[in-house]
């Protein structure tokens, strides 16, 4: 979400230009970071029946963390996901 799998659309025709695994660039094993899974086994008073979430929702803070790290490193705030190398380099040029 932070780095890969951008759906790129031709602005004039609204046709997606990368609707395939080659150009949408899903991560390969080489890009996949080491993931450590930690379960929080306490009831959450705000969750339904004390529940929290697993799977996709916990990824959200990771994206903000990455975006902040890039801002911290480059001084450029990139407000579009995913943050790919060309966007960082382009932001530093203009």
């Amino acid at each position: 979400m932070a780095f890969t799998e951008e759906l790129i659309t031709d602005k004039l025709t609204a046709v997606p230009v990368n609707p395939n695994y080659r150009d949408a660039k899903v991560p390969t094993h080489l890009e996949a970071p080491k993931v450590e899974v930690v379960f929080i086994e306490h009831a959450d008073p705000y969750g339904p029946f004390g529940g929290k979430v697993v799977g996709e929702p916990p990824i959200t803070p990771a994206v903000a963390t990455v975006a902040n790290a890039i801002f911290n490193a480059t001084g450029k705030r990139i407000k579009e996901l995913p943050i790919t190398p060309d966007k960082i380099l382009q932001a530093r040029q203009v």
Partner: protein
């Protein structure tokens, strides 16, 4: 995919004869080696041949032979075999590295060197059946109005594709030659003369005529005192094309550059030789200043599109890095 007829070629002569016959009959025919590229074009409906001439049935066209002056590589030599060849690793490391940077292991196990050099562009407008772009007989190169973040900054116009081959810049830097076989016989020419700029013909990427086939690549050994450098910047570490790639071969003596060859990939519709920067470097001592100047000279005249301005600095930086690694 449209149905087609497969014909196993018995020899190069047989394949050329078949191509010529179908061309005269105005039938669409093509040769395939590994098939990793051409079959994809068929699936994307970019090409719809009636006949496919299979070259893999030709015995002995996948050789890698070391001779006194260099290496002879048969058209059907697989990228994986070039990558892993012990003598190529020892004497032409940038070629091994470039072959190993192409596509994915599965594709390198099928894809051939000739197929890699004859690839069609991987521009997303060219590959999409939703766009009939200039290169497919349309009126417009859609990168001009659309998204050109991965497209050409040098040598573009009227089409702004970048040449997709990873091995081509390395081979051009090494001064490789290509052998083409056609109805009139064989001819050998420097590989850099094989590629065609869109300003000359925007419907093709190379000089191959309808019944001609690439049959061999000859790579001369670099002169003693030479150092090579290969680097490919990409978004994904496997199965991705170059955003910018640089291949340099620098021959030095007594701390001074005798001859330098700088070739960029991912920036132009052909493997882009920075001839002016090469001339500038002749007789110079390589240091941070001359390397930086060479990078600036190499990118003089670059005309980026609105989305790929970043490639200019990236290419300059890579040239600098390559030259400093060649001291």
């Amino acid at each position: 995919m449209k149905s087609f007829e497969n014909i196993d070629a018995k020899s190069v002569k047989d394949a050329v004869g078949l191509l010529q016959k179908f061309h005269q009959q105005k039938k669409v025919a093509a040769v395939v080696g590994g098939g990793s590229e051409y079959l994809q074009l068929m699936k994307d409906h970019v090409v719809e041949p009636e006949y496919l001439i299979n070259l893999k049935s030709i015995p002995g066209l996948d050789y890698i032979k070391e001779e006194r002056g260099g290496f002879r590589i048969g058209a059907l030599a697989k990228l994986a075999d070039i990558e892993d060849h012990p003598a190529i690793r020892e004497k032409l490391l940038i070629l091994s590295a470039a072959a190993g940077d192409a596509a994915s292991p599965q594709i390198r196990n099928a894809g051939t060197i000739a197929g890699n050099l004859c690839q069609r562009p991987f521009c997303w407008y060219f590959r999409s059946s939703n766009f009939t772009c200039l290169r497919k007989g349309g009126q417009l190169c859609y990168t001009v109005t659309g998204d050109g973040r991965f497209h050409a900054i040098l040598g573009g116009g009227p089409s702004y594709i970048v040449h997709p081959s990873d091995t081509a810049p390395a081979l051009v830097a090494l001064g490789a030659q290509v052998k083409i076989t056609g109805p009139a016989g064989e001819k050998t020419l420097p590989l850099e003369k094989f590629f065609v700029l869109p300003s000359i013909d925007y419907r093709r990427e190379n000089i191959l005529q309808p019944a001609e086939i690439v049959t061999e690549i000859f790579v001369p050994l670099p002169k003693s005192g030479s150092k090579g450098f290969h680097y490919k910047v990409r978004e994904r570490l496997a199965w991705d094309h170059a955003i910018v790639a640089v291949d340099t071969v620098v021959e030095s003596a007594a701390g001074l550059v005798r001859e330098a060859r700088l070739v960029l990939g991912g920036v132009a519709p052909i493997p882009w030789r920075a001839v002016k920067a090469e001339a500038f470097l002749r007789g110079k001592r390589l240091d941070e200043t001359t390397a930086e100047q060479a990078g600036e000279i190499a990118l003089e005249g670059a005309k980026p599109l609105k989305d790929n301005v970043y490639k200019v600095k990236l290419a300059q930086g890579l040239i600098e890095r390559g030259l400093l690694a060649s001291v």
